[in-house]
Symmetry: C2
Subunit: 286 residues, 2 copies
């Protein structure tokens, strides 16, 4: 049974959506959460230097920066649009380096506007990651390709299964490119255990939240606290551990009810569920 | 370029949800649609013998009967529940035989109530199909395992990718078990072309509708007329043809707006889009 201790807990900032960076940092300190997953918009609000200072002063580790990617939003013929996207991704790599983030999470983008060509979109993603690799290597940042759930394939990520993310990562040097395993996006996959094994040495982040039913009207917000839904975390955690990942485990929840709750209540629940479901007995809530 | 002629068009009855069987049959006749996909509840409304007579009188072909399955709804320890489910599936096989349906579509069922064990659910599906195979062979019915989109994994089908459906089908005799390729459920899969190739000789139905954005509040109803969404039908149709499938192509649309439309309007649109997108130039709407 894989037991994940609270010393590996990280709170992804999106779980307390309405808290600014300083508030989220203070929340982690109050709840003895040793790491945080940051979002670029919240970093930008107070400025990168201030964000770095706040994180360091709190003694927090940055388990990820969300996010780079959306490599397909500019048409292949739109040189300016592609240059702007590349510049923004270069800036994201720089921010991840300054923050000492374990990875820069990449949400790769959906279909190219006006096109239904999945192959084109996937080639653009591969090319764009290739363009980022030298900068990532220069600054010591690992890019984390995140497979999103197939229901987001058209509009958010043509990388729609872990196997595809692994295939893509394996085509780049391991110091520069890995994969993010997010329970919400990949739990359904009959080939998941094998794909996680194939990702050995390439897993740069393990993110957790639960799949709750019914799906909400906004499909982006159907994520629940660990233990509130249908995901059996035990086998996924065991596979991730067997693949050699021993880094932070981020709780990232997009859910209108969770966002409406008091952040201290949310942080306490995150900690309790992490201990019970991931730390306690390997996957089954009490 | 794979061009699918209108002589291969089938209207799945669910596309005109509010029409009874006789109305749907008459609709096909009026719109020169040579085949129909039937639903068991609509057959039961008028009785199996009457349904068979109505179909024969109209000279219609039955491309599928929807549906058997939901093999995981009764707990493994609930002998009565499992017996009832088996009896209902046996009845479905019989109905498919009487109707001369090309396949009995199987929607296999989600997680077992009270369990998060995907492996258990998947083993129960395999066992239940195995129990149906002798009856299917005796009556000359081919069972069609349908992979549903992964967003339905928890509550409707733990068979969540075509590859998984193919693996399962290949463990049974080809005269008894095949797979249904439904564009809506599988279009996102980077491995789709290879999985369709692996299904050669096992494809018992090709169903089409489009993936429209944004996803509706009820995730079951996010299907659009062919050409209204994001799916590139050309490569899928080409792969299905290359795998040797030359049977009917069913248009099956779950969509509140389509259901609210006049059935004659819907049938006309189905025909127009089929000709334009599937028959015209292999995938791109005009």
């Amino acid at each position: 049974m894989t037991r994940i201790g609270l010393e590996r807990l990280s709170l992804n900032q999106a779980t307390v959506k309405h808290a600014g960076l300083r508030e989220a940092v203070a929340l982690c300190a109050r709840h003895d959460i040793p790491a945080i997953g940051l979002w670029r918009d919240r970093v930008a609000e107070i400025g990168l230097a201030e964000a770095v200072a706040a994180i360091r002063a709190a003694g927090l580790h940055v388990s990820s920066l969300c996010r780079g990617g959306f490599f397909t939003q500019a048409d292949p013929d739109d040189a300016d649009g592609r240059a702007a996207a590349r510049a923004d991704n270069m800036a994201a790599v720089f921010e991840a380096a300054e923050l000492g983030a374990d990875t820069l999470v990449l949400v790769c983008g959906g279909l190219v506007p006006g096109s239904k060509d999945l192959g084109l979109a996937r080639r653009m993603v591969a090319d764009a990651i290739g363009e980022l690799v030298p900068e990532a290597q220069r600054l010591g940042v690992r890019l984390g390709i995140e497979a999103l759930h197939p229901m987001f394939c058209a509009d958010r990520s043509v990388i729609a299964s872990l196997g595809e993310a692994v295939d893509l990562a394996l085509s780049f040097p391991p110091d520069a490119v890995g994969v993010v395993v997010d329970s919400y996006h990949v739990w359904w996959d009959a080939r998941l255990t094998g794909e996680i094994a194939r990702a050995a040495g390439r897993i740069v982040s393990y993110q957790v939240c639960d799949w709750v039913l019914p799906l909400p009207a906004d499909a982006l917000l159907g994520r629940g606290h660990v233990g509130d839904g249908m995901i059996d975390f035990g086998p996924i955690s065991a596979a991730v551990a067997a693949a050699g990942y021993d880094g932070y485990v981020e709780v990232e929840i997009f859910n209108a009810d969770v966002w409406a709750a008091q952040p201290d209540r949310t942080a306490a629940t995150v900690r309790e569920r992490f201990a019970a479901v991931l730390g306690g007995n390997g996957g089954q809530a009490d």
